[in-house]
Amino acid sequence: MDRIIACAVLALMFAVSAAAPWLAPAGYAKQYREAIDEPPSRTHWLGTDEVGRDRFARVLYGTRISLLLAPAAALFSTLMAAIVGGLAGYAGGAWARIAMAVTDLFMSLPWLFLLITVRALMPLNVPPFLSVLVTFLLLGLLGWTTAARVLCASASSLRSADFVRQARASGIRGRRLFWVHVAPNLKPVLYAQFWISIPVFILSEANLGILGLGVSEPMPSWGSLLKELEGLVSVGAEPWKFVPLVLLVVVVTSFQLLLSRQEELPA
C-alpha cells in the first residue's frame, strides 16, 4: 500500500512539474514590479518573492529541475559505481585493493565537505543553466563511492559463486563471463543503489542551494527556493514560503518508501 501511495505521489509530482509551461506560462523569471513580496492572491497563488517573481511558477519549475536531474545524477553515479566497484570486485586482487583504497579516501571525507570543496574549484559565476549541470554532475561524480563499495563486495562474492565457477570450468572466461553471468546478478544491487542515491542527491542539492553554492539565479531549484526561509521572522508569519520544503519532504519520503520496498525484494 505504501508503495502505491509513494508511486502515485511521485507520478503526480512529475506530471505537475512537467506541465509547468502550461500551468505557469509567464515563466519563473518574470518580474511583477507592482507586486513585490506579496502574500498569496488569485493572480499569484503562492505570492511573489522579494524581486516580484511568481512563487508558484518558481516552485513548479524548481520541482521539475530537482525531480529530473536528481535521478539523472543518480543514474550517472550508479553507472560509475558499477564500472569501478563491479569491475574491481570481479577482477579482485590488487585492482580491487587499489579501487577500494581510492573509494575509502573519498569516503573518509564528510559528504558536504567534499561537495563544497570540489564545487569551490569550479567557477561560481557561471550561467544559470550551466550551474544546474555543474551541480548535478558534481553530485553524480562524487556520489558513487558508497555504491562502488557495495558493488565491489557483491561482485567479489559472485566471483566465487558456484555457478560462476561452473561457467569458468566450462571454458567461459573474461568479458563473456562478466557480462553473461556476473553483471545480471548485480542488477538488484544496482537498482537499490540507484534508489538510495536519488533522495540523497535531492537533499544535497537543497543543502548546496541554501548555502549559495548550488543552482544560480534566476534558475529555481528546491535549494534556491528554500534559501527564502533565511529571511523569515517566524514560522507562522509567512507559511506559504514553506511549500517547497513540504514538497521536498513529501518527495524524499516517497523515495524512501519505494526504497524500503526495494530492499525487501529478493536479490
Binding site: L105, S108, L109, T117, I210, V249
Partner: protein, 290 residues
Amino acid sequence: MQKLRWKIAGHGLALLATLLLGGLLSATLVRLAPGFDSDERELDPHLNAQSVQALREARRRDDNIFRFYLSYMRRAARGDMGTSVALGQPVRTLLRERIPLTLRLLGTGLALAWVLASTLSLTAAWLRLSIYDTVTTFASATLLCLPAAVLALLSILWNVPGSIAMALIVFPHTYRYARNLLGKAYSRPHIIAARARGLGEARILFWHVVPVAAPQLLALAGVSVSMAIGASIPVEALCGLPGVGQLAWQAALARDLPLLVNITILVTLVTLLANSSADVIGHILRRQES
C-alpha cells in the same frame, strides 16, 4: 594481541597515506588555482626593480613541480599551512581561533544526539510496543527527510542553539541503526534463554544485549563524528557561529583554495582518527567477548 597491533599499524599507515595523498592533492590544487603565478606584492610602489626581480626568482623556483611539492610538504610538516587568500591571515591562526567552537558544537551536538538515540532505541527495544516504535520511527524518518541546512534555519527561527540543530541532524541516522542493532541483539537465542530462566529485563539489556551490539554501536559512533563534521558547515554558516564549518563555507564562496584544502585535510584526518579509534576499540571488545 598480534592481530590488534597489526590493526593499529594498518590504521596508522592509512592515516599517514591519507596525509601524504591529501598534502599532494592540496599542493596540486593550490598550484592549479587561478592567480598562482601572480604576486600582488609586485604592485607595491616601495619595491625597487631588484626586489621585484627577487620575488620573481623566488616564485620561479616553484616552477619545478617536485621541488614545489617538497617545499609545500616541508612547510606543512612545520605547521605552516600557508595564508588565506580571502582573509589575508595565516591558515594556522584562523584554524586555531575557530577549532574550539567547532569542537564544543560537535561535542554537545553528538552527546545530545547519542543520548536521544540511545534512550529511544533502548526503550523501543525494551518496551517492544508497536505504537512506540511507529511514533519514534516516524519522527526520525521525518528528520531524515529534512536537509541539514533547513534544520539549521529552523533552529534560528525557533531560537534554539546550533547544537540542538546538530543533534537533530545526527539523531535520525544513529537512532535508525542503533534501533536495528538492539532489535537484532534482542532476537538472539541466548536472550530468549535468559528470559526463560527468569532474568530481569534490565539485567538482560545491560549484560546480554548491549555488549553484543557494542562493537557495531562503536563503529556507528565513529561514523556519527563524520556526519556531525559535515553538518557543522550548514549549522555554523547559517547560525552565524564562527567555527571551522563557517570558515570552510566562506573559503568555498571566496574560492580560497589554500584555506579550503587545509580544512579538508584536517577534517579527513579527524574523521579517519574517529573511525580508526572506533574500529580498534570495537576489535578489543569483540576479543573480550569471545
